[in-house]
């Protein structure tokens, strides 16, 4: 028969040499041995190898980061970095870096400031209506306006070509040259502004307690949230998940996203009004710092909100706060600015003492109304009554910028290019959540809604594909993460030798009984309160335990069972 002769062996095909990867193949790549389909397995293996290889390459890419971060290092134990004044730092800094130390003496304060995302441009606003934007490195002024009314905040939009000012009654948008483009009448009596660059949202909060999001690419109001907590004077954004943090006058801090009409998180942070609020960008938004009118500064862990990581009292009332890109916290309170650095400020500390000081700088022009770190520079700009002061804080700025995100040296063409790319990549406002990594994560396994006790009446032909595979025993559930497994792993040693249990089995073996509810009751009671019910339950449990112990001892033969006597009939049960 021709069947033998029909077979023609295909030649092996390989990638050309120039396209082959140069690095050695990665080790410890999952082999996907459980996958039967050869084609699929090969594909998965190739993908895994590719992923491992690119991961290794990313690690290697750190070698290519050329710029070095600034630093201040003491040599002996007796020296302190906070003793170093600005004059010494300026002397020690390079010529280019020393330009960062400036004093702007301006009337009409107090002033607030804001840097553009690439750190090249600075916008300032005085409460009497003096607004200016400029390239602070070359000293070119873009626009200078005397608005003749109260201005409360300023922010750049996507780049230096637009900025928004929170004025007496509305928010206004100006272009780079200071021409008024829009009057946003929806934002009434705004006090603070934030711009979410990846969502193109301008958010404002005002005296009427409304948080409003406006899409600056389409002009639509995306969300208006009534906070129901009165006038609000504190607003901060988490750069990593675009959640807005509001600090209210009753000491509550609330977290907002555009798609839910109530706060995602609400915590009672202070006993008086919240004054300063900032989220740490250097740890992916893990830590938040708040300060209140009660003079307390608190650092919170945003993962669990269980109390503060650290708190201390400052003198002089409410403090303005700002985290730098590398995790230094600046606290402007009273007549000075203090900067604290990373490991100490994030490690839990029970005593209410301030963390070790990194740098301090006195400013004799109270009040200090804003602190801003300049991105990609070791500069801290403080707004106060007599203008603005920029001081050098070595080691707080991220030394290596990424040109695709923010480039201080970008030219006109690159700016335009990035604006268009940014618009194309605009993320929809309803994608803002507390966990930004939910995009592209595995969906939770679906459950058939009609199933009662895991049995349903749906014919096989009408089942969804995954269910069919499950019925046939062909479903590959190796990638599924069972949350019970993690608990079991944490619990430990005893079960390790046993076979891994299925979820249903575990559910079945879970201890349920009378004893448990009693124990739960006791656990929920406060230990130091003497409650007659709790005492009774404790006694009952003790009795049960004793009975069990006796029964076990009898079983093992350590103890003899008490012989029944005639007097037993009089015993209390």
């Amino acid at each position: 028969m021709a069947s033998q002769s029909l077979f023609v062996k295909a030649q092996n095909t390989t990638l050309p040499k120039s396209l082959r990867p140069t690095s050695p193949p990665p080790e410890n790549v999952p082999k996907h041995k459980h996958v039967k389909d050869l084609k699929l397995r090969t594909k998965l293996n190739r993908q895994a190898a590719h992923a491992a290889r690119s991961k290794a390459l990313v690690e290697d890419a750190e070698l290519l980061l050329t710029s070095e971060a600034g630093k201040m290092q003491v040599e002996t134990e007796l020296e302190r970095t906070w003793r170093i004044g600005q004059d010494d730092i300026v002397q020690g800094a390079g010529e280019e870096a020393a330009k960062g130390r400036r004093e702007l003496k301006l009337d009409g304060g107090p002033y607030r400031s804001r840097y553009s995302r690439n750190g090249r441009h600075l916008a300032i606003v005085g409460s009497m209506g003096h607004v200016a934007t400029f390239d602070w490195q070359t000293g070119t002024m873009h626009a200078e306006l005397q608005l003749q009314e109260t201005c409360r905040d300023i922010t750049f939009l996507q780049d230096q070509s637009f900025f928004a000012v929170a004025q007496k009654k509305y928010v206004f948008i100006y272009d780079r040259d200071g021409v008024e483009l829009h009057r946003l009448k929806a934002h009434i009596e705004p006090t603070r502004l934030e711009f979410l660059p990846y969502h193109w949202l301008l958010a404002s909060v005002g005296n009427n307690g409304f948080l409003k999001y406006q899409d600056t690419s389409t002009g639509h109001i995306v969300a208006e949230h009534r906070t129901k907590l009165g006038a609000c004077h504190t607003l901060a954004q988490n750069k990593h998940n675009a959640v807005l943090y509001l600090g209210h006058s009753n000491g509550v801090v609330t977290l907002w996203t555009p798609n839910i009409p109530h706060p995602a998180v609400q915590i009672m942070a202070h006993l008086g009004p919240v004054v300063g609020l900032s989220v740490d960008p250097g740890s992916g938004g893990r830590y938040m710092a708040t300060s209140g009118q009660d003079g307390v500064v608190k650092v919170w862990d945003c993962r669990n909100w269980k109390g503060t990581v650290r708190e201390w009292t400052t003198r002089g009332g409410g403090a303005e706060l700002e985290w730098s890109a590398r995790g230094a916290l600046s606290v402007a309170v009273g007549g000075s600015v203090n900067v604290y650095t990373k490991p100490s400020i994030q490690t839990p500390h029970s005593a209410k003492a301030p963390p070790p000081l990194y740098l301090t700088h006195p400013i004799p022009h109270r009040p200090l109304t804003s602190v801003r770190f300049c991105p990609f520079q070791d500069i801290l700009t403080i707004g106060h009554n007599a203008g603005l002061s920029s001081i050098l804080v070595p080691g707080v700025g991220e030394p290596n910028f990424d040109s695709t995100e923010a480039d201080p040296f970008e030219n006109k063409k690159a700016r335009r290019e990035r604006e268009v790319k940014g618009l194309l990549d605009k993320i929809q406002p309803d994608m803002i959540t507390l966990d930004p990594d939910f995009v592209g994560a595995l969906a939770p396994p679906t459950k058939l809604t009609t199933a009662v006790n895991d049995t349903h009446d749906i014919p096989f032909a009408r089942l969804p594909r995954l269910e069919r595979l499950r019925v046939q025993g062909k479903a590959d559930e190796t990638e599924l993460v069972d949350d019970d497994d993690e608990d079991a792993a944490a619990e430990g040693d005893g079960d390790k030798n046993d076979k891994p249990q299925s979820r249903a089995e575990k559910e079945k073996r879970k201890m349920r009984g009378k004893g448990k509810s009693l124990k739960r009751y006791l656990r929920k009671q406060r230990k130091n309160v003497i409650d007659p019910t709790a005492v009774a339950i404790r006694a009952k449990l003790e009795k049960q335990r004793e009975e069990k112990r006796v029964a076990k001892a009898i079983e093992t033969g350590q103890m003899e069972a008490r012989k029944p006597s005639a007097l037993d009939r009089f015993r209390r049960p």
């Binding site: 040599e75 730092i89 390079g94 070595p394 995100e405 201080p408 993320i427 592209g440 032909a461």
Partner: protein, 448 residues
């Protein structure tokens, strides 16, 4: 003494050295520097999927000239542009596809329809018709494109349904009630091939492209038969549930054969294992009338009675690319061009249509930058295809209402049938009847 150093960027590193130089860029791959990286990438994937659908304009043009329905199309081996089409009116036209002109136009080449066409060596064309004649034509470009006289004529005994030429030798095979092998130089068939017990009409015959003496045929008796001209007999045949309308051998994997079946499906078989098809391709809502492999062997095209053309990926049985127009009627023939970039279809409305094989592909010169962008978009689409929204946009195809309704109805009917079968099984004695895999149901019997 305290060591102090303050961060500063040297402008000389970050600014172009001379005017006109590109501005140097720097990268920092720290994930903290790229917030929302995943969300932004998904957005790009979504845009890529949308752009792909936006630019999906597959129809390139139509080649006119036939008075009646186009029955058969064939491309010239080794040529990118020469294609012959035969029609129900008995006319044959040789097209130059790239210029969209006629090379030759033969009116009334046969009485009745032209049922088979194939190119022979030295720029000649073989045609057969229901008038029981095979004619050999000169297919080279001439001054008078309407030259009518054939080079040679081979008389047959019954109406021919199909013709195919040997890959290298001057032999060709025809299909009528038997398969006949002809020598170009002889006026009668040199051998007759038939399965011993067969009494059917052979509808199509094709030589294998690699093992050149093997040929396959399909017949009205729902059969697929394999012959070898060296032994001069039929080697093996299978009888299927429904008869097939067309067959095509894979150009890259010689043992693979594709059958376009009357039951709306396409089947690929490995001829070493004829018991089950290797894949079933489901999508058409009426009989599949024609099929042809891409020269790469990775895709194939099929045209159906449902007035749609579908382009399938080998090994992927669902979700084909679907082409249709308002004016296109039942598609009776479809072929891939030799560069795998275009698809030609002949339909009952008398037109030969040219389609792009990839609906959103840009024709014309593509710059390196554009190519890089296209490749990036393709990667994104592939990486995010499991995302609900991206996948939905990628999969969704607009269908003519009758096709859509027919597909819906068909799905309902098949579902109901499966459910009924299952319920019946549930109420019969255990082990009485077992469910069979879909692939096992296709073949009734294999005969040798």
């Amino acid at each position: 003494m305290v060591k102090i150093s303050v961060l500063q960027h040297a402008p000389s590193v970050h600014l172009p050295a001379r005017p006109g130089d590109p501005t140097p860029t720097t990268r920092n791959l720290d994930p903290l520097m790229h917030p929302f990286a995943r969300a932004r990438e998904r957005n790009r994937a979504l845009n890529a999927a949308k752009m792909d659908r936006l630019f999906a304009k597959p129809f390139v043009g139509a080649l006119e000239g036939h008075i009646d329905a186009v029955e058969v199309l064939c491309k010239k081996p080794g040529s990118l542009s020469a294609v012959a089409s035969g029609s129900w009116d008995g006319g044959i036209i040789l097209h130059n596809v790239s210029e969209r002109k006629h090379i030759r136009r033969i009116q009334g080449a046969h009485k009745g329809k032209v049922s088979g066409l194939c190119f022979a060596q030295d720029d000649r064309l073989l045609s057969c018709g229901v008038d029981s004649k095979i004619k050999l034509w000169d297919a080279s470009p001439q001054d008078d494109i309407t030259e009518q006289r054939p080079l040679n004529e081979y008389p047959g005994k019954s109406a021919f349904n199909s013709i195919d030429h040997h890959r290298s030798d001057p032999l060709f095979a025809t299909a009528s009630n038997i398969v006949q092998i002809w020598d170009e130089t002889k006026s009668a068939a040199i051998s007759n091939l038939t399965f011993p017990t067969s009494t059917e009409t052979i509808t199509s015959v094709r030589f294998n492209l690699s093992e050149t003496s093997v040929l396959g045929s399909i017949g009205s008796d729902r059969t697929f038969t394999l012959y070898d001209i060296r032994t001069g007999k039929a080697e093996r045949r299978v009888i299927m549930q429904m008869s097939s309308n067309a067959l095509a051998w894979s150009p890259t994997f010689p043992t693979n054969v594709l059958l376009a079946s009357e039951d709306h499906n396409l089947y690929t078989f490995d001829v070493r294992q004829l018991k089950t098809p290797t894949h079933i391709y489901k999508g058409h809502v009426a009989a599949v009338m024609s099929c042809d492999w891409s020269p790469t062997g990775l895709d194939f095209v099929s045209g159906g009675w449902d007035r749609t053309v579908r382009i399938w990926k080998e090994g992927q049985g669902t979700g084909p690319e679907v082409y249709h127009t308002k004016r296109m009627q039942r598609v009776s023939s479809s072929i891939f061009t030799a560069d795998a970039r275009f698809v030609l279809t002949g339909s009952d409305d008398g037109n030969v249509r040219i389609w792009k094989a990839k609906a959103s592909e840009k024709l014309g010169i593509i710059t390196a930058r554009e190519r890089a962008a296209i490749e990036y978009r393709d990667t994104l689409k592939d990486r995010w295809k499991h995302d609900n929204e991206v996948g939905r946009i990628q999969r969704n195809r607009h269908l003519p209402k009758p096709v859509y309704q027919a597909a819906k109805l068909k799905r309902t009917m098949l579902d109901t049938r499966a459910v009924k079968e299952e319920r019946r099984r549930k109420h019969t004695r255990a082990g009485e009847s077992k469910p069979h895999a879909e692939r096992k149901k296709v073949i009734i019997v294999e005969q040798t």
